[in-house]
Amino acid sequence: MNKSHITKMVLLVLTTISFMAALYLIFFYVPTELSMGVVQRIFYFHVPVAWIALLSYVVIFVSSIMYLRKRSKTWDTVAIAAAEIGFIFTTAFLVTGSIWAKPAWGVWWTWSPRLTSALVLWFIYVAYLTIRAYTQGDDRKARFSSAVAIIGFIDIPIVILSISLWRTQHPSALIFEGGLTPPMLLTLQICILAFTLLYVLILIQSIQINRSILKVRDLRRLKEMNEG
């Protein structure tokens, strides 16, 4: 048990350090963007949150395929953990996106390619959580969620492509707009590193919690059998 405890400690330290570095870079190092002014600094947290939302779905996709092949419950616990985190980060992305849209475009919501794709991604997460909530029986619940996750994951690139084709008539680089000066790029990379480390830490913690939920259920069944 202590091996995973150590890794968690190391991760915690690394995450804290990188977050402090990120905050320093955002508020002191990087120059203010000319057109949008200071509010543009939301960008340095906004993009990593989107990155985590997408990364989570990759994790769900991989663990779903592994579950359908191996049918072992551990892969399913990984998928549940990643789904929860991914859904929360996608929601955070939409909220901060609209907070950013207000000063930038004077309206709480615009159908910009990035925000629209994020909204569809949000609904794909809802689809995953819905099938998981409404299916009975562990094995069937895991199998059905894996199916929805795989189809949902394949849908994401096509969603992004068709939305960008629809909104801007040319498929532009959606997440990483061009024109980032070197300091801006450095800050962004550090922020993404910080969020990724945080993500791995939360994911490990959440997986362990899901495993112990299963353990509690087994112990409860064992108790019933002894009494029964």
Binding site: D138, D139, D218
Partner: protein
């Protein structure tokens, strides 16, 4: 106390080694080992939850096994080869019939799914034998439970399976109807059919089969064939091993 029944032909037509099956952490089958020779008529007894239906579902390849080896006609079910199902007929609690279609249409559909070449004659032959000729073109939803059970048994015989798995075939049928159907199931066009059926009725188990297997809590607790087969003896063993008859 498990006495091995002699296998009738060369290898067993069904061989099960160390079969386990779990449903959401409930161990439905806890290590089943049994060999069934071609032509054997095996009755499977046991209280509810003993795993009878699960065993039948695994053998019919409706569900996969959690561990262990199941070989039917020397093909391993694990290889997921659909062809092995050609030799298996299944009668389950559910009738497997489409409510909105007529008996004739249901049988035509299943004949096409099982590639039955002489479809028309086969359907007429089976319908006539199960005594459903007058109701051939009635919708299944308009038929009584007993008639649907007859159709369900007829459906399982359409493709002349060598192995027949019946899950409590006596539900919805009175004794007379079941025994008349039993002759059909047995003597059907010259196939010495291997039959595995589950039932709660001990006397029927003895009269209809030449081997009785008793299951309890996911394991085979008794397997006796031939001479030992009389209702009294079985009843005594059954109540001793499974704690009483429901």
């Amino acid at each position: 106390m498990v006495t091995k029944a002699p296998a009738l032909s060369d290898g067993p037509i069904i061989s099960v080694k160390g079969l386990t099956r779990t449903f959401n952490d409930f161990l439905a089958l806890r290590g089943i080992d049994i060999d069934i020779g071609a032509g054997e008529k095996v009755a499977v007894l046991g209280p509810n939850g003993a795993g009878k239906t699960t065993l039948l579902k695994v053998l019919s390849s409706a569900i996969t096994s959690s561990s262990g080896e199941v070989t039917i006609r020397s093909t391993r079910l694990k290889d997921k080869d659909p062809e092995v199902r050609r030799y298996i007929g299944v009668v389950s609690h559910q009738t497997f019939l489409y409510q909105e279609l007529t008996a004739y249409e249901n049988f035509t559909f299943y004949c096409r799914m099982y590639d039955v070449s002489d479809r028309e004659e086969r359907i007429r032959e089976i319908i006539d034998r199960i005594g459903m000729m007058p109701r051939l073109h009635d919708r299944v939803s308009n038929l009584s439970r007993g008639m649907q059970q007859r159709l369900s048994i007829g459906r399982a015989l359409l493709h002349r399976p060598e192995i027949l798995l019946l899950d409590e075939p006596d539900t919805g049928l009175d004794w007379h109807a079941l025994s008349s159907l039993w002759d059909i199931i047995n003597r059907e066009d010259g196939i010495n059919r291997t039959i595995l059926f589950t039932t709660h009725n001990l006397s029927r188990a003895c009269t209809l089969s030449n081997r009785v297997v008793i299951m309890n809590k996911g394991k085979i607790v008794h397997d006796i064939a031939g001479s030992g087969l009389d209702a009294g003896n079985i009843e005594e063993i059954y109540s001793r091993l499974t704690g009483g008859i429901e």
